[in-house]
Amino acid sequence: MSIDLHHGRVEMNHGSGGRAMAQLIDELFARQFANDFLAQGNDGAMLPAPAGRLVMSTDSHVVSPLFFPGGNIGSLSVHGTVNDVAMMGARPLYLAASFILEEGFPLADLLRIVESMANAAVGAGVCIVTGDTKVVEKGKGDGVFITTTGVGVVRDGISLSGNQACPGDKVLLSGSIGEHGMAILSQREGLSFDSGVVSDSAPLNGLVEAMLDSGAQLRALRDPTRGGLATTLNELAKQSGVGMRLDEAAIPVRSAVSAACEFLGLDPCYIANEGKLVAICESRDADRLLAAMRGHPLGENAAIIGEVVDDRHGFVQMTTRMGGRRILDWLSGEPLPRIC
């Protein structure tokens, strides 16, 4: 008898290594992720070794709620790792996926999650080649946790790193910020409001390919996920021992996001993104890079938002839309809505 994926629930024996687990793997994971590597059915996947240097990255995904406007934990777990690999200038090839499932979790929800992972993998041009499933007792997990690990290959001559930003370099952003975090926040218990904002979760490897193809001298790429744009820029400034000067008016923010931020007293620069990247590039190549980014669907709103400067404090400073100056500081604690 096959598993009832529509009404069934995760049970302890789905993770115990016995027949129930084999069945869940066959009927759910293997069927959705279908590829030759997974079909080998072994403890590990045997993969052809590509020429050149490899990049490997891993990320654990814990998100509440599991389903949000614009995606779910499944698609997010693919995009997150694909993007981490791509930020190294690499073409992502393979993913491994580990699931920690909570006893009692509806299989129909798991199916939706796995389906969207499979779709996301196809969209990003990667194969999910191996995986693992564990089940924890009810109350000891939060539905589903997913860890994905990705491997990719870097083209010859490309070497991106966060410690390479030099004074004079330009800072580029691939599009409007704050959409993922705001989509999640608007669904949170106790804060539910309809912002109409949809997560920007997307695979950035295609955009990165286009940027590399432009021939612009790239120093570093980073995707501003948790902690948002501000955190990413501070990380880059610290790693490279430089400061930055930004122009707030140049940073794209959708009006629904700025309105929701205003309502909650939050700053979009600290809100998470899952489909945006920051690029640091040599000044003379900035326009060429910008044109390449704008030519890709995920970069059509790309902008040059500032430049790298010499600053022994490593301050990321911003000229506000009002014309005043401020620091765009590291986040301290969680961004919290205002009280009064």
Partner: protein
């Protein structure tokens, strides 16, 4: 949804800045207090200080709900959570305020206390409904803006006979703090106030008449958007230049003379004045805070659990008191940015985003002390 951009328009800001620059006389100083932490935050967040001429000095006021709670009040909440084992619900900012014995609500949580961050009092109410075996206490802080929702929650709890919900009521009143600042003869000399935004939607602009009439201080109520603040500064400069002292309302899109009468009625039904309440920096002020009326006494956590208030002096190095009175600025504190940072706050003003120290650290510390000294005449 165009609302936000409309009020952040940089072009307009430059026009306002130019008007302030040409109308503010170079021969005098304009000491203007923005009462509210929301305004303090906006001024720092948008770098508005850069747009004002040197003669216009913005002085941060005490309008930050987390900042004005003295240590003893946080201790009281911690005792409830640690000793009485209640589920203590609080707004996020409150969790990090340093209390006695190196504790904070967050550290008490790490020690096993059941402390929950909530976004609204309704979350705490819901928690109580869903966990009838737990005593749920809401740490109710804030000025007149947050008092009505607390009042409604208490009414609902009473109506539904909820036995496991109570409120630790630290709601305070804006006009009382403004009086305290004006009536301190040794205190900061002010030429006018930027009046609160959200608070004024509840209490109305008429509440500020005594400051204009009896103290001769102009008050301009302003929204929290940067252009609101700039407009309010211009209106204050104009009043001062022409020798007027009036209550003007820049925030007419939300504030009426009488305020929100319905909200006031609900608050009045549930709460009554406390004889006295101690504020950080301002000391014990008469009629400056509210408590539950006797008919709602069952929902008063102080009474239910018998935890009294024990005053505790501030950390000696911390200048929060003087900052909340408008007498000092964050950069005047010797440990600002060194021993005291948002990640390791020593005083309450470094905790909340509306706190003056936090705002200056987060947005303005690139200015360093040089610029600060240029403004040092206010002490």
């Amino acid at each position: 949804m165009r609302y936000v951009d409309e009020f952040r328009d940089g072009e307009l800001a430059r026009h306002l800045a130019a008007a302030i620059g040409s109308e503010a006389k170079g021969t005098r100083r304009y000491h203007l207090m923005e009462f509210c932490g929301g305004h303090t935050h906006a001024i720092s967040r948008y770098g508005l200080g850069d747009l004002l001429p040197p003669s216009v000095l913005m002085i941060h006021g005490p309008g930050c709900p987390v900042c004005v709670l003295p240590i003893g009040r946080i201790d009281q909440a911690i005792r409830l959570a640690l000793e009485h084992r209640v589920t203590l619900c609080s707004y996020g900012d409150c969790l990090r305020v340093p209390a006695s014995h190196g504790l904070s609500l967050l550290k008490a949580k790490a020690q096993g206390a059941d402390v929950r961050m909530v976004y609204a009092v309704t979350d705490a109410l819901e928690l109580a409904r869903r966990n009838p075996e737990r005593q749920v206490v809401f740490l109710a802080i804030g000025f007149e803006t947050t008092t009505p929702p607390t009042a409604v929650a208490v009414q609902q709890a009473k109506a539904s006979g909820l036995k496991n919900f109570s409120v630790l009521c630290y709601h305070v009143l804006t006009p009382a703090a403004m009086h305290a600042i004006l009536e301190n003869p040794a205190g900061v000399q002010l030429d006018g106030f930027i009046g609160p935004a959200h608070v004024s939607t509840v209490i109305g602009s008429l509440s500020y008449e005594p400051f204009a009439r009896d103290h001769g201080k102009p008050v301009v109520i302003a929204g929290f958007e940067p252009l609101d603040v700039m407009q309010a500064v211009l209106m204050l400069v104009r009043q001062i230049n022409t020798g007027r002292a009036e209550v003007e309302n820049e925030f007419t899109r939300a504030v009426t003379p009488e305020g929100n009468l319905k909200a006031q009625a609900i608050v009045n039904e549930v709460f009554e004045l406390r004889d006295s309440f101690e504020w950080r920096g301002l000391g014990a002020l008469p009629n400056s805070a509210v408590k539950l009326r006797p008919r709602y006494a069952d929902f008063d956590a102080e009474a239910r659990f018998g935890v009294g208030y024990v005053p505790v002096p501030d950390n000696k190095a911390c200048e929060c008191g003087a900052i909340l009175r408008g007498e000092k600025r964050p950069q005047d504190c010797r440990i600002f940015g060194t021993a005291c940072t948002p990640d390791r706050p020593v005083g309450s003003c470094m905790v909340s985003a509306e706190g003056a120290c936090s705002a200056h650290y987060t947005y303005g510390r690139f200015q360093g002390p040089a610029r600060a000294n240029a403004r040092g005449d206010m002490q």
